[in-house]
Amino acid sequence: MNSTTDNGVGSRRGNLPGAAFAMNRRGFLGTVGAGGLGAMLAACTGGGQSSDGPSADDGVLQWWDQFRPLTSMLEASLFEPYMAANSGVTIERRQMEGPDLGQAIQVARRSNQMPDVHSLAGLDATPAALVSEDWFQPIGGHADFDGTEIVDQLFDGLHRFDGEIYSVPLFSGRFHDATPWVNTELLSQADIDPAQSPATWDDLRATARQITDRAGVPGLLIPTKEVPYLTALVNWLAQSAGAPGTIDWTTGAYVFNSQPFVDALEFLLSLQQDGVVHPSGASMGARDARARWAAGEAAIYPWGPWIIGGLMVDEPEAVERGIDAWRLPCPETTRNVVHRGPGGGVFWVSNESQQPQIAAELLLQMSSREFQAQLASAMDQPPALIDVVAEADVHPAYARNIGYLADDVRISPVPETGNPSTWRVAAESQDIHPNLGEVAQAILTGSSSDIRGELTRLNDAMSAERDRAIAAVAGEGAEVSIEDWVFTNWEPSQDYDQAAYAAR
């Protein structure tokens, strides 16, 4: 048998021309293959980066965020001066779209490749939940945040956990993202004074009709493809109609099925039925809509204060052509304020980071009045020290909108500050579908016509899910109850500040 096998092999070799080189070639190919494989395996540690992550490299600080309008300002006013003053430090910033950033962070977390500093865009989990899972490390010991002007805006359960400061609010909570931004050139064509905000919903309808008739473009652009945009828009409209928000803080009850929410949906539907809404809005996201609004496809686009900052980066010609901000209209001439929680922590330092000192120093600089003024000039979200806008180099429409926001927005209570343990309820709760935005989408696309019925189902489901989640986490020992959502001393016309929490 052995001889047969040997002969067989031998005969095959013998039949090959250049047999003396055959084995050498195989050996060569095998060696090359093995080498290549080895190299490939050596490189397979995720994106070609070291599995130890960027934090292990002394002096290199990785920074991930979604703030495209802040790109040049962060580089020129923060990172470059810091690196110049600290020669051993390199700051590498990566900017991504919000949803992409959330997914990238989730993947980075599981593969130990977290950046040193990142924002929470795309991550809907509460900061408290992330802190409890050891995502972050405190920064209060590395810099004196208590000596800054934003100290009054540091809240337990949002920025401070177990007495330690983890993050700071760089942006104010005093904003909404339903400001009617207008193309002044189109308004002029429709014989409308851009400086005159329509006071009521009916005024806005009439104005939109006039634009559609005279300027030859749809009056309004409402991108309804993205549910979060619709959720926010309906919420702000309902609050402008008198709703306290999605929760009545005096009772802790959800109020999705209250009249203001019904009115808000009926108002959006009436605009659509008037034929004044861009017909392609249903297949647009918020950024697509901004681009098409900037291209002059519609005159009015409800969005947040950051629109000018974004336009200055991507479509500056739209700003040069003429842009203005209108005040959020209410159903009647009587004005209602809208409510939003305090500005949350924006940048967080990863628990894996070896550079907490550098990160804390950068965040401390961002909390200064000088940097806040530069932040205002980027015209993104309003800065935490919102009064700096008056002195900053900003577009008049941006400044006007900040003035409207100061008049119209009040800071609401948040359960996490009242009782930090409530994050466990949020973490335990399962999403309810259809949510507010999905209900609005169904109404606007004709999938449903029962506005009140849909809102009542949503309200009941949200209430039941919160009750279930409270019972579940209370059963695990957490000290939470429905009372944590009740703020009996809440006065809708006032900000709910540190003193209000203390007096609760």
Binding site: A125, K225, P279, S283, S429, H433, P434
Partner: protein, 324 residues
């Protein structure tokens, strides 16, 4: 003896003849080590990126795993119980099946017609048309989704053409209407992948010997009879494999549907992949275990349906034979 010596006895017994095939794994590895070496990268890649995620998703399906936590907690069959009561899971399941049932026959049938047309010697510029129909295949699905969002919206050329032709009264946003969004996705998917199925059919048509066609012609068959009685019966074995390939393709439409409709409006085009993605990444608290359970359950249910379908087809064939 004579008989013995003259008998055509095998030089080696059957057992001996099979001996080389029964070499131990170790000896085979020693003899053919370079074959396994070159297979190794593929095996590693397949193991890491196909087998491991598959096995891991089964394990994850039994965990309560919020996306922001490093690990999950074993909860047994809880995720599956929740899924069975989740209307949106069943909605996505139905949408995926509807996609499959409508899109696969359309793609297979249209591609066959195209292949027959392009296979004809009388078709001019057949090479040009083959390239033209194949072009969408090599275009990224996500890009096609974005482009068709513009083409199919209310101001797009397709909507305006429908109005111009009197088919619709007013411009319609085909991707943003609950009644049409899924079918818009199906139409785009069929258009995108038609070229590759057409190539499969063209390859199948090349396997039919020319003398079979000539024999049919000599027997007096016209083109229609030749197609019906000669060509199509010979293509049936290919139909099975092409349908299978396209069916697998119809269950992988995430990039196109996510960019085209995002599953909306109101979940009207939410196929199972978007449901899984939304649950795993776009939920307030990402639920990795629940999303894995959805993937596993959908796979199992699809397998059950495939088995039921196969049994049904066999039963129908037997009935037909019995009746004839």
């Amino acid at each position: 003896m004579t008989l013995t010596t003259s008998a055509p006895a095998p030089a080696i017994s059957p057992t001996t003849a099979k001996e080389p095939h029964r070499l131990s794994l170790r000896r085979r590895l020693r003899r053919d080590w370079w074959i396994y070496l070159f297979l190794l990268p593929t095996l590693l890649g397949y193991g890491a990126y196909t087998v491991y995620p598959l096995v891991a998703s089964w394990w994850y399906a039994f965990l309560d795993w919020p996306g922001f936590a490093m690990t999950g907690t074993f909860t047994g069959l809880d995720n599956f119980r929740r899924l069975l009561a989740d209307d949106l899971f069943w909605n996505a399941f139905r949408k995926s099946l509807l996609f499959l049932v409508v899109a696969v026959p359309a793609r297979v049938g249209l591609a066959l017609l195209l292949a027959l047309w392009l296979n004809s010697r009388r078709t001019p510029f057949s090479g040009f048309f083959r390239t033209l129909f194949f072009l969408p295949v090599v275009t990224t699905g996500a890009i096609i989704g974005i482009v068709f969002t513009l083409l199919l919206d209310a101001n797009g050329p397709i909507s305006l053409a429908l109005v111009w032709a009197g088919i619709t009264d007013s411009p319609t946003n085909l991707v943003a209407s609950a009644g049409t969004s899924l079918y818009a996705g199906i139409a785009v998917w069929v258009w995108k992948w038609l070229g590759i199925t057409m190539i499969y059919w063209l390859a199948a048509l090349q396997t039919i010997p020319r003398d079979v066609h000539e024999a049919a012609m000599l027997d007096g068959a016209n083109a229609r009879k030749e197609l019906w009685h000669v060509t199509l019966p010979l293509l049936v074995p290919f139909l099975v494999i092409i349908t299978l390939i396209d069916t697998v393709g119809a269950l992988n439409v995430f990039d196109l549907m996510q960019t085209l409709t995002g599953g909306g409006p109101s979940f009207s085009s939410e196929v199972i992949e978007i449901f899984i993605y939304r649950t795993a990444f776009a939920a307030t608290v990402p639920q990795l275990g629940y999303a894995s359970a959805a993937a596993v359950l959908f796979g199992l249910l699809t397998m059950v349906l495939a088995v039921v379908q196969a049994v049904g087809v066999r039963w129908a064939r037997r009935q037909t034979k019995g009746a004839s």
